[in-house]
């Protein structure tokens, strides 16, 4: 896709994110005009169209309420709904009676003791594991960030961007550009020629996060994605979660750190043992 298509892609993403058509057109025209005035292409000035659209929507949602009203966006359409979901492996019950509804612009945390089925629940949400009972409804655009693994040891970060971008139907150049842009938000500049196996644990998790977000999913499923993060990166991560929420995405994050819970909209407690009763708490 050529840079000439950038305004059209930008406008299409704004529409997809719920902007009024006239407003989306005005923003696209305004952005294209800024690029012309700066004498450079919009892709170089603003980065990938779909990411800049999300960033802009996030910024617009952060505008403080004025006389004409406004304020934080109301939760949007439902992007994930679990009804009475259960999972058993032969006779062993891992999950039972799980209900969860996550809307656009919401962050849900899944907590519970080790082995209580948090990761299994996330895999069910992704569609990689089938529930034994209950019903799942989910948006098609979903990104998964596993707790560990999920990368190819001998490929560089840029090659990962190309690979995951190809899976999502993105041209290699656009995928690399989007990946580098997303990495920069996590204060990471991937080194050329460095394979994933030479990355530190924290940096590899940054790569995992970028790959989860690369296809611009509406729903992000994160399984304790901050393993190995230093304090600054950990704070950057939660700021990023807030930015996703403000941009109208839904986020489900598995965590065991209780102080994370102040930043989420609802908590799903899977209890202390496999198959135990669950409690969802809206915040």
């Amino acid at each position: 896709m050529s840079p000439d298509d950038w305004p059209a892609r930008f406008e299409a993403e704004l529409l997809r994110l719920g902007q009024h058509p006239a407003r989306a057109r005005a923003l696209a025209d305004e952005t294209a005009q800024q690029a012309v005035e700066s004498g450079t292409g919009p892709d170089r000035l603003f980065g990938p169209a779909h990411l800049y659209a999300r960033h802009l929507v996030s910024e617009l949602n952060d505008v403080p309420p004025g006389p004409a009203g406004g304020g934080p966006p109301a939760p949007g359409r439902v992007l994930l709904r679990l009804r009475d979901v259960g999972k058993r492996y032969r006779r062993r019950v891992v999950l039972s009676g799980v209900d969860l509804t996550v809307r656009a612009g919401e962050v849900a945390a899944v907590v519970g003791a080790n082995g209580c089925g948090k990761s299994t629940l996330l895999r069910i949400c992704a569609g990689l594991t089938r529930p034994s009972s209950g019903a799942v409804e989910r948006t098609h655009r979903v990104g998964l960030v596993p707790q560990d693994g999920g990368t190819a040891d001998w490929l560089t970060a840029a090659e990962h961007f190309t690979l995951f971008g190809a899976a999502a139907g993105m041209a290699p150049r656009r995928a690399r550009s989007a990946g580098e842009h997303l990495a920069a938000r996590l204060a990471w500049r991937p080194a050329a020629g460095q394979p994933a196996q030479e990355l530190s644990g924290g940096t590899r998790q940054k790569l995992n996060l970028v790959l989860g977000e690369l296809g611009s999913p509406d729903l992000l499923l994160l399984d304790e994605p901050y393993q190995g993060f230093d304090e600054g990166t950990y704070l950057d991560f939660w700021r990023q979660v807030a930015a996703w929420r403000d941009a109208g995405r839904a986020v489900v994050v598995v965590t065991h750190l209780l102080h994370d819970l102040r930043d989420v909209d609802q908590v799903l407690d899977l209890g202390s043992r496999p198959g135990g009763r669950v409690a969802a708490v809206a915040r």
């Binding site: 439902v78 992704a126 569609g127 409804e137 998964l144 999920g150 990368t151 690979l163």
Partner: protein, 224 residues
């Protein structure tokens, strides 16, 4: 498009592993050098070494992606693109290996039909690719897969060439083609070998895709 990207990146991954490349090239060479005084034996062993090396490499390549493939499926990649891309990459590696050793044998050995050495090596490499991926699909852990490949190749070497056991082994076609190239047997051996190779390739590829389609299936949930 996705398959081509997967193929290109798979080749890059493999070529970065220098020790693997040395062993991939060196294993058939070791088979060859052991009996280099006997043109027939050395060429047959070399052929089997190529098939074994390519199958083992494919097994490890396929299994190394177990953590990545579910995420790629979730991102939108099809099973055929993922499996097809890797088979394409391994086929390219196998063709390169077979081509190199064809040249070696053509120069150093006195065989009755030197031109047929090319197809002989090629068939061994081409059958080794889907066979290695099928073993990887059936046995997702590397050690089990490597032991299974070792068993198959050992049985292939030791089985009576005229018996049914030898005929159902995946590399029987290379043995038959070897007879045609080295001992100048009838052309019917050539056709039988090509038919066997084609059937083995089709069966192994089909089963590989079917098994990975099952392993990598993603539930299609309705939109809320």
């Amino acid at each position: 498009m996705t398959a081509v990207v997967v193929a290109g990146l798979t080749l890059r991954e493999v070529t970065r592993r220098r020790a693997v490349m040395v062993l991939l090239i060196g294993m058939p060479l070791a088979f060859y050098l052991t009996r280099r005084d006997l043109p027939g034996q050395s060429t047959r062993m070399l052929t089997l070494g190529i098939g074994w090396a390519v199958a083992t490499l494919t097994l490890f390549v396929v299994n190394a992606q177990r953590g990545v493939d579910p995420r790629l499926r979730l991102a939108g990649a099809s099973v055929t693109a993922l499996v097809g891309g890797r088979l394409l990459a391994m086929t390219a590696a196998g063709v390169g290996l077979a081509g190199g050793y064809w040249g070696l044998v053509a120069v150093l050995q006195d065989v009755r039909r030197p031109w047929a050495i090319g197809p002989l090596m090629l068939v061994s490499a081409l059958v080794g690719v889907p066979f290695g991926s099928l073993v990887g699909a059936l046995l997702p852990r590397e050690l089990e897969g490597a032991l299974a490949l070792l068993t198959v190749v050992a049985v292939q070497m030791l089985a009576n060439p005229e018996g049914l056991l030898a005929e159902v082994m995946p590399f029987w076609s290379a043995r038959e083609l070897g007879n045609y190239a080295i001992d100048a047997t009838a052309v019917s051996d050539l056709w039988r070998a090509l038919l066997h190779a084609g059937a083995t390739w089709t069966l192994a590829t089909g089963l590989t895709v079917a098994l990975f389609a099952r392993r990598l299936r993603v539930a299609r949930y309705p939109e809320p």
